[in-house]
Each structure stands twice: as structure tokens, then as C-alpha cells.
């Protein structure tokens, strides 16, 4: 009996883990892209790009990720846009965390000393060359720890997709509880799995920090 229950639980959680991992990794990838696009857009030379970036950042930081995912999944169909739960989940999580990431990119870039910009200019580097090879490589290591925190937040927030019928870990744990009446086991398992995911993200960030330390440039 207990053995059956445990293997049922393990199967459920593993199924859910796949969805949670997919959401976390895809959402983080989208957030990463948004962070750079809108973080640099926020300090663009072009006013329209700056305004667009600020509007995106403030809307997604100023409303809850919960409401954003609900909007994408339940409200957009009213405008003729029907998203799959998975796509709505990735989009909602990625756009939300991307808005926080954009501020991280902006502040890390702006924290780079004025002397670096002036040296680039005096050496006749183009704006692209300056950012790509001088400013961003110095700013990136400053972003990583905060990106790591954001990724953890995204992973934890991913549990809300259980409310748009995506079978992630939280959803599976709920189902298991309803099916078997067990409460302690599924939620203990959920707790442990989320914590292991957290440790995984920590290790990922530390590896990235090691890889992005100062070293000779490869042109």
C-alpha cells in the first residue's frame, strides 16, 4: 500500500517536474532576452524606444504576475488571441521577470564608469563596439547574482500556472492529494523538489560567474 502510494507520488511529481522545468528554463530565456532588449532600450538614444521600454517595464513590474498570466490566458481570447496554457505561462513569467531584469541590465550598464565610455569614444570605437566589447562585458558579472535571484523567483512563481490547468509540480501535488487524501506527503515532496531546483539554479549562476570573470578577450 505505502509502496504503491509512494511510486504514484513519485510518478506524479516527476511529470510535474518536467512542466516546471520547461516553464522555468523557457521563461528565464525569454526574461533574459527581454532584460537586455528593454534594459538597453531604456537608455537608448531614441526617445520613442526609451518610452516604449519604460512603459513595458513599469506595466509588468507594477501588476502581479498572477494577473498577467490570467490576462494572457483568459482575457486575450476576448480579443481573438487564443494562447495555449503552456505558451501563456512562459510568456507571462518571461515578460514579468524580464521587466525586473531590464532594470538590472540598465543599472549595471550605468554603474560602469564614465571613464570607460570616454576611453571608448577617444579610441574611436563605434557605439556597438563599445557596448559589445567594453561596457557589457564589465557590466555582465554585476548582473549575474541578481539574474540568479530573478530566476529563482520565476521558478517559484511558475506554480501559478496550475491555475490555468498546466500540470506542473504544484498541480500534480494537488491532484495527488485529492486522489489519495494524503496531505503531508505531496506537499513535503513539493517542498523538497522546489528546493532542489533552487540549488540547481544557484549552481548554474555560480558556474556562469566563474565563466564570465576577467580574462583575455577573444576577438
Amino acid at each position: 500500500m505505502t509502496g504503491l502510494v509512494l511510486s504514484d507520488l513519485a510518478r506524479s511529481i516527476l511529470h510535474g517536474l518536467g512542466i516546471t522545468l520547461l516553464l522555468t528554463l523557457s521563461g528565464s530565456a525569454l526574461a533574459f532576452v527581454c532584460a537586455f532588449v528593454f534594459g538597453l532600450g531604456r537608455i537608448s538614444r531614441w526617445r520613442s524606444v526609451r518610452i516604449f521600454s519604460i512603459v513595458y517595464i513599469e506595466i509588468f513590474r507594477g501588476t502581479s504576475v498572477f494577473v498577467q498570466v490570467f490576462w494572457l490566458y483568459y482575457a486575450l481570447p476576448a480579443f481573438g488571441l487564443l494562447l495555449s496554457p503552456l505558451f501563456a505561462g512562459i510568456l507571462g513569467l518571461g515578460l514579468n521577470v524580464g521587466a525586473y531584469g531590464a532594470e538590472v541590465v540598465r543599472s549595471a550598464v550605468q554603474a560602469t564608469g564614465q571613464d570607460q565610455y570616454e576611453a571608448c569614444y577617444a579610441l574611436n570605437l563605434t557605439r556597438y563596439q563599445s557596448y559589445r566589447y567594453i561596457i557589457l562585458p564589465q557590466a555582465f558579472p554585476r548582473m549575474l547574482p541578481v539574474f540568479g535571484n530573478n530566476m529563482v523567483e520565476l521558478m517559484k512563481a511558475s506554480s501559478i500556472v496550475s491555475l490555468i490547468s498546466l500540470a506542473d509540480i504544484t498541480f500534480q501535488a494537488q491532484q495527488f492529494r485529492i486522489r489519495t487524501g494524503e496531505t503531508f506527503l505531496p506537499f513535503a515532496a513539493t517542498l523538497i523538489v522546489y528546493f532542489l531546483l533552487y540549488l540547481g539554479i544557484l549552481a548554474l549562476v555560480q558556474a556562469a560567474m566563474r565563466a564570465s570573470g576577467p580574462k583575455s578577450m577573444k576577438v
Binding site: 571613464d115 570607460q116 570616454e118 576611453a119 569614444y121 577617444a122 579610441l123 574611436n124 570605437l125 563605434t126 563596439q129 566589447y133 567594453i134 562585458p137 564589465q138 576577467p214 580574462k215 583575455s216 578577450m217 576577438v219
Partner: protein
């Protein structure tokens, strides 16, 4: 005098023409005009806030001017058609700016790149050299400034004087016609100052580069320059060879700055 042949007068390397600049209402440069012929070694002296560093930053186009014009060998940096000067668009300014190099007071080395890459990188991205040639040239320049064995260190592993020599090598690698130095001796131990002077003289002798430097050190200026400009309140109050400016300046402010007795005393 009797000849009717036109006399060929080359454009000065730098022509500053009636330039004014104010920051938040404070006049930093006040209708300043100045010609500097090619190959001249000029030291800009004067009290803090007298506008001498601003001149360097304006030549590097890190700052702009409120009125006037600047020409580099006859080529303007500003479009003055509308009455007020506007810096030329980047595509037209680049060829002019690329003739000018600057060594900053705090060097502005790129901390994430090796000493070698600091020097090789700008050459590659200016299209001056391919990677292998740029690195070879960087090695040569490092040997020239006496840092041949530091190529693979990071800038933060160097002393202030060594950083400065890397910054000089980095600017030289782009073969500028004009080199600007902002307070080149301020970060150095006094005993290192003559080393820097040797490097400057070597640059002048081997490349004929026009050099402008801002300094507070009279002795350094005297030994380096063919021409001393003494600034006060955004104007040049003394202009001449060091032996004249330092021993018998005309201007009362220069005399006061140098601790010389007043002329009409």
C-alpha cells in the same frame, strides 16, 4: 617681398577660432583663439578651473563648444551654417577625431582586458590592423614603453606609472597626429616623472606627433614643451617659449602664479 609668387602657408594642425564654452552659466572658455602648428609640443598651465582641461576635452569632442569653430588641419569639426556650432554628424566627424588620441588622467584602461588586448583591440576595431598584426604592434609598443614583460597581466595588476605607459601605448597604436595628455604626472611618483618625459620626447622625435599636455608641474612643462600657454579665466594670458614664460612673463596673473614679483611694483 618683391616676389609675387603666392606664399604657401600650411593650415595649422589645430586651429581654435573664437571658441567660448560655459557650464551652467560659468564661462570656462572666453572667446579663445589659438593656432598650433604640426609637431609642436605645447604645455597648458594655469590654476584649476581656468579651462585648460576643457580645451583637451573639446579637441577630443568629449565636450562641445557654444560658439566658434575648431579646425584640424583645415578640416572643421563643427557645422556653423545655422550660426551656432553643431558637431558634425558621426560619419563625418570620425575621420577627424581618429587623428586625435588622448591619455586620460586616470588612464581609462579596460579592466577586463589584458594589457596586450587593451592596445591591440582599438586597432582591430578601427580597421587599422588584423588581429595578428595588431598584437605584434602592441608587443612592440609595450617594449618601447618598457613593459615588454607585462603583456598578459590585467591593468589592475600594474602600478600607476605602468598603467599610464599602457595608456600611452594604446593611444600611440592608432598613430594619431595629435596626442592629448591630461595631467600626465599627477599619478606618478616624482622619480618616475623623468621616465615619462623620456617617453614623450621619444614620441615627439620618432613620430612628429603634435602634443598638448595639461599639467600643474612647472618643471615638467619647462622640460617638455616648446611652447607654454598660461590660462586664466578661460583665456590665454601668456603664450611663448618656456625660457620666456617662466623667467619674464608679461601678465600679472602669470607672475603671481609663478611667484614672481609684480612688474609695476
Amino acid at each position: 617681398m618683391t616676389s609675387m609668387e603666392p606664399v604657401f602657408t600650411p593650415d595649422p594642425m589645430i586651429a581654435i577660432s573664437d571658441v567660448s564654452r560655459a557650464f551652467k552659466g560659468t564661462t570656462v572658455l572666453d572667446h579663445l583663439s589659438l593656432d598650433i602648428p604640426a609637431g609642436q609640443k605645447v604645455a597648458l598651465l594655469g590654476p584649476s578651473g581656468s579651462g585648460k582641461t576643457t580645451i583637451l576635452r573639446i579637441l577630443m569632442t568629449l565636450e562641445t563648444i557654444d560658439s566658434g569653430q575648431i579646425l584640424i588641419e583645415g578640416v572643421p569639426m563643427y557645422d556653423t551654417a545655422s550660426g551656432t556650432p553643431h558637431l558634425l554628424p558621426e560619419n563625418r566627424l570620425r575621420p577627424v577625431r581618429s587623428r586625435i588620441g588622448m591619455v586620460f588622467q586616470h588612464f581609462g584602461l579596460f579592466p577586463h582586458l589584458s594589457v596586450l588586448d587593451n592596445i591591440a583591440f582599438p586597432q582591430i576595431f578601427n580597421g587599422r590592423a588584423r588581429k595578428a598584426d595588431a598584437k605584434a604592434r602592441a608587443h612592440d609598443l609595450l617594449k618601447t614603453v618598457g613593459l615588454g614583460d607585462k603583456a598578459y597581466l590585467l591593468p589592475d595588476q600594474l602600478s600607476g606609472g605602468q598603467k599610464q605607459r599602457v595608456a600611452i601605448a594604446r593611444a600611440l597604436a592608432l598613430q594619431p597626429d595629435i596626442l592629448l595628455f591630461d595631467e600626465p604626472t599627477s599619478a606618478l611618483d616624482p622619480q618616475r616623472v623623468s621616465e615619462v618625459l623620456d617617453i614623450f620626447n621619444m614620441i615627439a622625435d620618432t613620430t612628429g606627433t603634435t602634443m598638448l599636455l595639461v599639467t600643474h608641474e612647472m618643471e615638467f612643462a619647462r622640460r617638455f614643451a616648446d611652447r607654454i600657454l598660461f590660462f586664466d579665466h578661460g583665456q590665454i594670458v601668456e603664450d611663448g617659449p618656456p625660457e620666456i614664460v617662466f623667467t619674464n612673463p608679461k601678465d600679472a596673473r602669470t607672475r603671481a602664479f609663478l611667484g614672481l614679483p609684480s612688474l609695476n611694483a
